[in-house]
């Protein structure tokens, strides 16, 4: 019998950080006093009606464009009807047929292997408010009452739905990570999983090999990190496989990821399929996104993470460094500017992703809080290339620049770290050392190349460590081979 294979689809919700909410003028802001960012529309007072936010539409068009989707010229809003206290209208304005974007794709790389995930649709909807149940232990069943905060009610929400193309938990995680990078690069959301501005639901089923029919799937919610996305899917694949191996049956249901216990738990929702009675939102006209708008968004699209990584590798960084730089806009920006100012890309990439990152972590600072500029990196790079600074010393200088002690040259001079690379002077020093150590030189000339280190060391000692060791080593070698 063929091996078990998982079939995975991911639904992602992304809150857009627009100036105002999806259908009213209230601010999109977090951490404010409950119910302060509300108005008749997002509280669903009688008579209040929605007006779509153009900035949010622009945001979803950006996402759809980055995901290589077809943007529908006319797209429709629908009412999704269900009663829930944190949904003030008791229907959610969402999309059904003719969403803003359809038929997209996203290429990810897992273990060096490229893999394409199909994007079924990207649609626009609105977020709900938040309920807090107040009672003995905070559990809904024992709660004596609930408090409602509608600050989040009506915040623009984009839902991105994949085809069931994903086969492993690692791919799912890579998809989630790449999507998060894209959303951040587009600047439409901070996409923070722990704060809920990006949320994943994982649809998982297993089957006997790639030719078998899809199995019954479950939907796992409450996954609030990339790591738990991978863990939850791994757990669910194992659980389903075990159930089926033991002759059991998978129930189509919603499951809840318990981070502490590392398990998914059935939410025991009664499995009558919910009828949302979708119908076209009569308070709004069809949304028109004309060709000019689509073209403008395409033209203004920033360099996407995959494009950026490819470019960095092209400049000479290794794949890992490229990924680190592309993942952090501040570091990537510094890198780009430094290279533009003449820095060696490979060298600059390593400094930034290693020394600078270590410094920032140690000092608990962000890049802007340091004194380091792209010009500094370029200067440092030039000093190393010119032989003025050893690569060991360059790290000390870089840390001092970060700490605000001055420019690389100022620091190198102040710390007396400038290398001696005057060949006339160095040659005289080399000759002097050879003259003092004729026995050792004979061994070297006889082919004992280990002796090079001895001579370099002697020269370094005579020059107080300031000689360029590469240059000295070359001279000694040349003289030995006479």
């Amino acid at each position: 019998m063929p091996e078990w294979e998982a079939v995975i689809g991911i639904e992602t919700h992304v809150e857009l950080q627009t100036n105002s909410k999806m259908f009213c003028g209230c601010a999109v802001a977090f951490g404010e006093a409950p119910n302060t960012n509300t108005c008749p529309v997002c509280l669903a007072l009688p008579g209040a009606i929605p007006v779509p936010n153009e900035e949010a539409i622009e945001g979803i068009v950006k996402i759809g464009t980055a995901l290589d989707s077809t943007i529908n010229k006319d797209s429709l809003f629908y009412r999704k009807n269900y009663f829930y206290p944190d949904l003030p209208k008791n229907y959610q304005i969402s999309q059904y047929t003719f969403p803003v974007c359809e038929f997209g794709k996203l290429e990810i790389v897992v273990d060096g292997e490229p893999f394409v995930v199909g994007i079924t649709r990207v649609h626009m909807e609105e977020d709900t408010g938040k309920s807090r149940h107040v009672g003995e232990d905070g559990r809904i069943h024992d709660a004596s009452h609930s408090l409602l905060d509608f600050n989040r009610s009506g915040v623009p929400l984009v839902e991105i739905v994949t085809e069931p193309d994903i086969r492993t938990a690692e791919q799912a995680r890579a998809y989630g990570a790449e999507l998060q990078r894209i959303v951040r690069t587009l600047g439409v959301s901070d996409a923070r999983l722990e704060e809920g501005s990006m949320r994943f639901d994982a649809n998982v089923s297993v089957r006997r090999g790639p030719d078998a029919e899809f199995g019954t799937r479950t939907e796992t919610k409450n996954v609030n990190s990339l790591r738990s996305l991978q863990r939850a899917i791994t757990f669910e694949i194992d659980r389903q496989t075990r159930v089926l191996e033991e002759g059991g049956e998978i129930i189509q249901e919603t499951r809840h990821w318990n981070e502490d216990k590392g398990v998914t738990i059935s939410m025991r929702i009664k499995e009558e399929s919910e009828d949302y009675r979708y119908f076209q939102e009569p308070d709004m006209l069809p949304l028109e996104i004309d060709e000019a708008w689509q073209q403008r968004v395409k033209a203004e699209q920033p360099e996407l993470p995959a494009q950026k990584r490819a470019r960095y590798v092209g400049l000479g960084t290794d794949a890992h460094t490229a990924e680190l730089l592309a993942d952090d806009p501040a570091l990537g920006g510094l890198f780009d500017q430094a290279v533009q100012a003449g820095a060696n890309a490979k060298q600059a990439g390593i400094w930034i992703t290693q020394e600078v990152v270590a410094y920032l972590r140690r000092e608990e600072k962000s890049l802007v809080e340091t004194a380091l500029s792209a010009a500094h990196v370029a200067e440092l790079s030039e000093m190393v290339s010119a032989g003025d600074l050893s690569s060991t010393a360059s790290k000390d200088v870089l840390n001092a620049v970060l700490a605000g002690d001055g420019t690389p040259r100022e620091i190198a001079e102040a710390k007396d770290l400038i290398q001696i690379s005057d060949s006339g002077f160095l040659e005289a020093e080399v000759d002097a050392v050879i003259a003092d150590n004729t026995d050792a030189f004979e061994k070297l000339a006889g082919g004992d190349m280990k002796m090079i280190g001895f001579f370099v060391g002697q020269v370094m000692k005579r020059t107080g460590g300031k000689a360029d060791p590469r240059l000295v080593s070359e001279m000694v070698r040349n003289k030995a081979q006479g």
């Binding site: 008579g47 009807n81 008791n90 409602l148 009675r277």
Partner: protein, 492 residues
Amino acid sequence: MTDLADLSIVEAGRQLRSGDVTAVDLWEAAATRIAYTEPHLHAFLTVDREGALATAKVVDAAFRAGEDAGPLQGIPIALKDNMCTKGLATTASSRMLEGWVPPYDGTAVANLRNAGAVLVGKTNLDEFAMGSSTENSAFGTSRNPWDVDRVPGGSSGGSAGSVAVGSSMGAFGSDTGGSIRQPAALCGVVGMKPTYGLVSRYGLIAFASSLDQIGPFARSVEDAALLLEGVAGHDIHDATSYRGEYPTLTDGLEKGVKGLRVGIVKELMVDAIDSEIRAATRAMADKLSDAGADVVEVSLPSSEYALSAYYLIAPAECSANLARLDGVRYGNRVPADTTDEMMAKTRAAGFGPEVTRRILLGTYALSAGYYDAFYGQAQRVRTLVRQDFATAYEQTDVLISPTTPTTAFEIGAKTDDPIAMYYSDVCTIPSNLAGDPSISVPVGVDTRGLPIGFQIMAPALGESMLFRVAAEVERLAEFSARPSLAVSKETV
């Protein structure tokens, strides 16, 4: 001497500007009329005496300072109680919203305040505008000023009655399937439904969003046009608000109908329409013809399905629109152990039987497995109705028909038969489905002395033409009868 309460808006405006009367005088005349008609009529749910007087005083000061915000400044105007008024209770005639005071003004209301209108109060309606008689109001039925044992029509029956008796000089209602024109016809006043999108719906408690439209009641066609001008205009708070150039309303009133092509709708002149009403409609058609119009018979073949389509589309939309009334954030609440139970009990207690019927009907029509046969089919009929109108307007400038199948009926006559009640809107619904403007003008009385309305319909944004023909109908009808309540002042 004419009682000030009986002045037209145009005449009152003239006298306000000449200094012969003040806004306070007009308000006091309306208040006096309210005092002796309300016990019989019950047109109002709330009369805002303090607010009206305060506004009238402000307006008089403005007049003295030479400030003039236009024809509605100082005019006493009544509002249907489904239009949100900041600081003034707005109930939609439902227990659900009893005592609810909106924290905001709807756009039409704000426009009226900016125009210096004196807002006298909130008028009765069928609960959430669902009905044709005001008998579905949770706060009592309004009476017809021509015969207090009869209904004023609905759902905007209170606004119609108020204008008919002079307790306001003009009023606003909302028309989803005829809720302005039908009560206007039954109360012998002018009632007009504008093109969908001409007046903002922001702050109008929604019944059926794709059909609802705010419009005026007046005692003359010109007054109706002035009232509409006071509220029409693009609104950033309503995504369906019209964005283009707005039609002019008053400059064609004197042009007459010579050379105009007028289509009399065949399907609305059938036996189910009262014979006296058909005769009055035919007589007016003949007068229009004599006045130079080219009157032809036209057909709207799908109009026979319009009523059925309407009673699927409107309930479907209302089933979602009324979902927000759940006792969670505002309005009345019936306490219970769980939130679900609280919402269910609140809604069961808060909605009257007709509203409940329509919510159930609409929920059913949208359900999986039924959607296509009911809601989907109704939407297809709606498209056909639009196409029928388009075809008819290829050969006509306006269409005419009766406004209602009967004149005012007795209270209780149709309350046990929803279908018979629904049929009250058979002539008015097609314009709502098409989104077109339409007006009812009184053209006479039947043998019982009850007023008969004459409906004129025009293509979308055809308000200029609509008011032009309506003004000619008004002149030709020479309708001067007044309801008994309005003229019985001395005897009360």
